[in-house]
């Protein structure tokens, strides 16, 4: 067996050189661009072994294992060299096992080499904190990657029997996972990428043991099947079985019938209904610049929207200094749980169920139309800087739409909510210009109202024309692409002669004024959070006490200085000082919010970007014992640790106010109190 493995390893040498070359290139890049002795364990881990994980890295590992798997059997059979092996006095099973073991060994050695080098490099950092090394994490990652390679290798060996079509099958598997993630929220342990998800207890890495066990078992079964297929396949040089005349006929018949069936299926699918899906009760109406499609049931609201569409568009064009207004297609028949409206290039999609009032629908159209004008005026350049400009993209759309379609109460409510979040969670301009980082830390929806307020400060400082000027400046000929967010803002603002720091100063001043006027009774805090998994393990129960907060404590941490010891209850990690139970600061009577909600953080091992699931909460008890309980289905929390965000509506028509993200632990078994 050892001789066989050694022979296979010799045969895998070109693949080994290839992977070594990839490794060398990777390290060369690092050596050319970094002082390796300054690298910390955390920076080494970035993008791979921090909380959760990045599916992109897993894709690379899958490719590594699949390419190796494909180099094992197909060529041996195509070139007939398998016949020499079969002529040896060893069983076909031994040959198969030797090949699998040799390939796995090669992958493990490459892995070991990479991890070993990393360890050596990290050891060169002498710093007392930055130079700390985490053996448990390093070793766990090493063996988990080796096991993961084995699983994908097994898949690859089976797929390679189908040759290149096997890759199509694997693509189907990946697409199936993406569909499941979009439709069900998670593909659970069916996804091989879930095997690389990371959870930590302190500094210890916890692996997805259940998933690894399941997939290892499947991998063994897959290998068994692959063995059956490969051991019964004759080499092409050996001639294989010559097809009989009957087989040839059957083959031809199968191919002909197959194409015929596919053709009929296509004709049936495409047929005469093309372009008319879900269009039974849809009606079309058009204005000079808009084409609206809507359900006949919504005639009244649509008429109101259509009536104002052109004048609103002209007003928007005037604000943004647009010379030529585009033609826009609007789908008013969409239904979405996640957005009242969407816009891409010159198409708008709106859900008329998102708001009750007609005027709100009209404003949403103005908001989305602003996005269309942003795209056309900046020649799509604003979208190229999406992360840096998301708050402004949404904020400008809010600002212009509220300017054209005033909804004073809604806007005031949004501003109030934004100012409370801004104060409690200490949000700064630098947070706004990093869309992903913002969403990880705060409520991503705050981009709208905070952006609205920031745009207001910009108009206040540099004039209304600065909005359109900014759009055109992002798409100017000499604009430098891919600038870091802070520099993008400085560079573009300089191009329109508007000072960023002055705008920021105005913004902060206006935010403070807004916050000072807020009735804090409407913004209680969640405290005494209890997380339990029920006995059946089918759902997780989050229960939190609702506690009022004194206006003084919220506005100024110093208020607590005079208070005695008490609960430092805060609104998530972003909360300011705690409100004391027996402090001098006056308590306010809490206005119990209308609705409660919890948002569960997405899992980044997912292939398709989804939307974080939310679940409603119910109040229990009253007075000082008022608690809110949220029930979360088990599938939304794949492991024991998860991120969540508690929220509520401060008034009947207000948006949800969310506290900062927290991390929770749902114990595997329940001990009910």
């Amino acid at each position: 067996m050892i001789s066989l493995i050694a022979k296979e390893l010799r045969q895998l040498r070109p693949i080994a050189w290839l992977w070594l070359a990839v490794l060398v290139l990777g390290y060369s890049m690092q050596f050319f661009t970094e002082r390796v002795d300054e690298q910390t364990f955390g920076s080494w881990c970035e993008g791979y072994c921090e909380y959760s994980s990045n599916a992109g890295v897993a894709v690379f590992l899958v490719l590594l294992a699949l390419v190796t798997a494909y180099s094992l059997f197909p060529r041996e059979h195509d070139e007939g060299t398998i016949d020499f092996l079969r002529a040896l006095p060893v069983s076909r099973a031994s040959v198969f096992i030797a090949k699998v073991l040799a390939a796995w060994l090669l992958l493990c050695v490459i892995n070991l080499l990479s991890y070993g080098l990393d360890r050596a490099l990290l050891a060169s950092n002498p710093e007392s904190i930055g130079g700390l090394f985490y053996d448990q994490v390093w070793f766990t990652l090493l063996w988990r990657d080796c096991l993961f390679m084995f699983i994908v290798l097994a898949h690859g060996i089976l797929l390679s029997w189908f040759r290149t079509l096997g890759l199509v099958l694997y693509s189907l598997y990946l697409l199936g996972l993406m569909w499941a993630e979009s439709a069900l929220g998670s593909s659970g342990n069916w996804s091989i990428f879930a095997l690389l998800s990371n959870q930590y207890e302190g500094s210890s890495l916890i692996v997805n043991g259940q998933g690894l066990l399941l997939h290892s078992g499947i991998a063994l079964l897959v290998l068994l099947l692959a063995y059956r297929l490969w051991s019964r396949s004759e080499s092409s040089a050996g001639g294989g079985k010559r097809s009989s005349r009957g087989m040839k006929l059957a083959n031809g018949f199968f191919a002909f019938t197959g194409f015929l069936v596919l053709g009929l299926l296509m004709i049936y699918r495409i047929g005469v209904d093309t372009g008319t899906a879900q269009s039974d009760d849809l009606t079309v109406t058009a204005t000079e610049h808009y084409r609206f499609v809507y359900s006949a049931r919504r005639e009244a609201v649509v008429q109101y929207i259509v009536e104002h569409a052109e004048t609103d568009l002209e007003a928007l064009g005037e604000i943004l200094g647009v010379d030529t207004l585009p033609e826009i297609r609007v789908d008013l028949s969409a239904s979405s749980e996640h957005a009242a409206g969407l816009a891409k290039w010159k198409k708008i999609q709106m859900d008329l169920d998102a708001f009750r009032e007609d005027v709100s629908q009209r404003r949403v159209l103005s908001h989305e139309t602003t996005h269309v004008l942003q795209a056309t005026e900046s020649d799509r350049a604003l979208a190229d800087n999406y992360s840096a400009a998301k708050f402004f993209i949404e904020g400008m759309a809010q600002y212009t739409s509220f300017a054209i379609v005033p909804e004073l109460e809604r806007r005031r409510s949004n501003w109030e909510l934004a100012s409370v979040s801004w104060q409690r969670q200490s949000i700064r301009f630098d947070d706004l210009i990093d869309a992903d980082g913002f969403a990880r830390q705060y409520d991503a929806e705050l981009h709208y109202s905070l952006g609205d307020l920031w745009t207001r400060a910009m108009v206040h400082t540099c004039g209304l024309s600065s909005l359109g000027d900014f759009l055109r400046a992002t798409g100017r000929e000499d604009a430098v692409r891919d600038l870091p967010a802070a520099i993008f803002w400085r560079d573009t603002m300089r191009a329109i002669d508007c000072d960023l720091d002055t705008v920021n100063a105005t913004w902060r001043q206006q935010m403070t004024e807004l916050h000072d006027a807020v009735d804090m009774a409407k913004y209680p805090l969640f405290t005494d959070v209890i997380i339990q998994r029920d006995k059946q393990g089918s759902q997780i129960r989050i229960s939190a006490k609702l506690e009022s907060v004194s206006a003084d404590a919220d506005a100024d941490a110093d208020a607590d200085a005079d208070a005695d010891a008490g609960a430092g209850a805060g609104a998530g990690a972003g909360a300011g000082a705690g409100a004391d139970g027996d402090g001098d600061a006056a308590q306010v009577t809490t206005a119990v919010p209308e609705r409660f909600i919890v948002r569960i953080g997405g899992i980044s091992t997912q292939l398709s970007g989804g939307v974080d699931p939310v679940f409603r909460g119910q109040t229990q008890g009253e007075g000082d014992e008022l608690r809110v309980e949220f029930l979360i289905p088990d599938y939304a929390v794949p492991g024991t640790r998860f991120r969540y965000q508690l929220g509520y509506t401060p008034s009947v028509d207000a948006r949800y106010y969310y506290e900062s993200w927290r991390r929770g632990t749902a114990p595997a078994s329940t001990s009910q109190p």
Binding site: A21, F31, T33, R35, T40, F41, G42, S43, Y51, P126, E127, S128, I129, G130, L132, V137, V168, L175, W179, S182, Y200, G202, S203, N251, F254, G258, M266, I270, G275, A277, V293, S333, H338, K344, R380, A383, V480, D482, L483, A486, D501, T502, T527, D528, I530, D558, A561, G566, A567, G572, A573, A575, G576, A577, G578, G610, R641, R662, T665, P673
Partner: protein
């Protein structure tokens, strides 16, 4: 007859694979459409056509090329075909057309399926579908032409595909290239491919077709050059020489890439406001926002400029980075934002500053200047104490006389730090731990005291020599830079400059500090620090609520600290923040804090439900009194919540 025979041969050979591939494509298209229906932000079924063109259509083209062309060349059956009396071009042309028609059929089928799912909301007109189909076919033609050409390159095709992929990545992600100006990228634009229905991208389509034509032509030429010898040569497996060539190609690509990245230069951004004081050589700009703050802005700019000019002359610095300061009147006096992405960029509020606060701000600015001078190497732990100590020393006594009140405060803080943690004297080996435990202000005062000691005992030149050793020479951002920098270890470098052993330096410096303790002003300051130490515990209540408690206990000290805690005039502050599973340097912000009156006995701070089991948290307990300008860190801990 010949044509039908050749076509018949290919159909017989590949019909089953073609059938399976077609079925797979249909299945994938249907799955994508189902996914598109569910996806929260999808706006048109035609989006899957673009997705398919970017993801699996190239794969299908690859499979088709592999079966139609590569297998025939590598297995040698091509020679039989070439032996037939029909010329060399016809079989190849038929191969090209067969592949193109097959891929075009798949592409049309995908567009048709998407159109079927599209509704009246997508306004599926004939012109719109034709436009999308046209764009799709143009891209399909390009893919097939590339695969056709590369497939005729035998085993070298893998290298060519890799180079091709690298080129695509370069165009897509290199900051200096605008993909919208490159035809296939412009055609596949994220927004325009599906949603632009009025304008036909003639230029992008023509450019893409031209590229496709060139690849096709190259393929045909390749099959003719050298009477088949090239093809024969290419059909053979790659030799070691090929591998070396590939390696050289990859290395060259890498070098070009790195060079291009290096050249990504751009003039630094400038303030555009009229409320700016601008000084040149060294370049210092101060944005003061309002007329009322102009005088303060002017004074600040002049002070920094003068300090930097003398520093440049004293250390012999060739150039200095641009320094920009922004006034933010709403900030706390010590709330300073610091960035070095584009010169040194500082946001702070210096309006309520006294001279000590000014010194703190000036130290931060010079910290950025000298850090930039060494490309950030001065922040490396073995040298960081020199950077911190020297910048403060320079600000305090580099260009003017040291103010006695500053000296007393810095000395008192340094003495207190060493009293709490005697091991903090190990400046080279424990700098990060000291800064972590006592905050940067505590660590800085310690380093400053070392510099003050050196100036007093060895003279000003020794301090400057120490700075020259560690803070002047830029260290390259690569392995060679790190290696060269560490040829001589930090300890030896310090000993060489000081001309004494490090242990002797540590000992003499501590003895000197002990003498400073007897100064009445220093003692007066020390007597205002409460003799407290902090304690932390994280626990779960009987109901399952996670709480983190902090309290204070008396601490014994030889420094004659304030033992009557009730008479302490300052506040006790708990600061906290999440940290990841791995330790890195952190300066906990004032954003998340709990302020209370200092006392001993029961719990002073309780954090309720903020953290849960398994989290890692940094907790600091500070004492902020009226005498010291910055808080004193009584306790700091990185804890895992049990």
């Amino acid at each position: 007859m010949v044509v039908s025979s050749l076509l018949g041969k290919d159909i017989r050979e590949h019909r089953l694979a073609a059938l399976l591939l077609t079925a797979g494509t249909i299945a994938m298209t249907l799955l994508m459409l189902a996914w598109n229906r569910q996806a929260p932000y999808s706006m048109s079924p035609f989006e899957i056509v673009r997705f398919a063109l970017l993801s699996f259509l190239p794969l299908i083209a690859l499979i088709t090329g592999n079966r139609l062309i590569v297998r025939e060349y590598l297995s040698g059956t091509r020679q039989f075909v070439e032996a037939l009396p029909m010329g060399r071009n016809l079989p190849l042309l038929l191969k090209y057309l067969t592949g193109l028609v097959y891929l075009a059929a798949l592409a049309i089928m995908m567009v048709a399926l998407a159109a079927q799912q599209a509704g009246v909301t997508d306004d599926v007109t004939r012109d719109y579908v034709l436009l999308i189909m046209l764009k799709t076919l143009v891209m399909t033609t390009l893919y097939w032409s590339v695969v056709f050409c590369f497939s005729l390159c035998g085993h070298l095709r893998i290298a060519l595909y890799l180079v091709g992929a690298a080129l695509v990545a370069l165009v897509a992600w290199y900051p200096g290239i605008d993909p919208d100006r490159v035809p296939p990228f412009a055609l596949m634009d994220d927004q325009l491919f599906v949603f632009e229905r009025d304008l036909i991208p003639w230029q992008a389509m023509q450019g893409t077709l031209l590229m496709a034509g060139l690849f096709t032509l190259a393929g045909f030429l390749l099959s003719r050059i050298g009477e088949g010898s090239v093809v024969e040569r290419l059909a053979k497996p790659m030799t070691r020489r090929d591998y070396v060539a590939l390696g050289v190609l990859a290395a060259s690509g890498l070098t070009v890439w790195s060079t291009l990245l290096e050249q990504k230069t751009r003039p630094p951004v400038e303030f555009s406001s009229e409320y700016v004081v601008r000084l040149q050589d060294p370049a210092v700009s101060v944005l003061y926002l309002e007329d009322a703050h102009q005088a303060a802005g002017q004074a600040m700019a002049e002070r920094i400029s003068e300090s930097m000019t003398i520093l440049q002359a004293s250390l012999g610095l060739a150039a200095l980075p641009d320094v920009k300061l922004v006034l933010d009147p709403e900030r706390e006096p010590h709330e300073i934002d610091y960035a070095t992405a584009d010169g040194v960029f500082i946001t702070a509020n210096w309006l309520p500053h006294d001279s000590y606060d000014d010194a703190i701000l000036d130290s931060v600015i010079l910290h950025g200047v000298l850090s930039a001078q060494t490309s950030g190497r001065a922040m490396f732990e073995p040298y960081h104490w020199v950077l911190d100590g020297f910048t403060r020393w320079w600000v305090e006594q580099g260009t003017s006389e040291l103010r006695p009140e500053h000296r007393h405060e810095l000395l008192a803080r340094a003495l207190w730090v060493l009293d709490v943690e005697p091991a903090a004297h190990q400046l080279i080996d424990r700098w990060q731990l000291t800064a972590d435990r006592f905050s940067y202000s505590g660590a800085e005062s310690l380093a400053w005291s070392a510099m003050d000691f050196l100036e007093e005992t060895r003279g000003r030149e020794t301090v400057l020599a120490l700075a020259s050793e560690f803070l002047v020479t830029p260290v390259a951002d690569n392995l060679v830079g790190a290696f060269q920098d560490r040829r001589i270890i930090a300890r030896q470098r310090v000993e060489s400059v000081l001309d004494m052993s490090l242990d002797a330096f540590y000992r003499q410096w501590q003895d000197w500090l002990a003498v400073q303790r007897t100064d009445a002003s220093v003692q007066q300051l020390l007597a205002t620090i409460p003799a407290l130490q902090g304690r932390l515990v994280s626990r779960s209540t009987a109901e399952g609520v996670q709480e983190l408690e902090a309290w204070y206990e008396p601490r014994e000290s030889a420094l004659e600290l304030l033992e009557d805690i009730d008479s302490a005039q300052g506040e006790c502050i708990l600061k906290h923040d999440y940290i990841g599973p791995f330790d890195m340097e952190i300066e906990v912000s004032d954003d998340y804090e709990d302020v209370a009156r200092c006392r001993t006995g029961d719990a002073v701070h309780v954090l309720n439900s903020l953290y849960s089991s398994g989290d890692r948290v940094y907790i600091a307990l500070d004492y902020d009194g009226p005498v010291f300008h910055q808080p004193l860190r009584l306790h700091a801990e990185r804890m895992s919540i049990p």
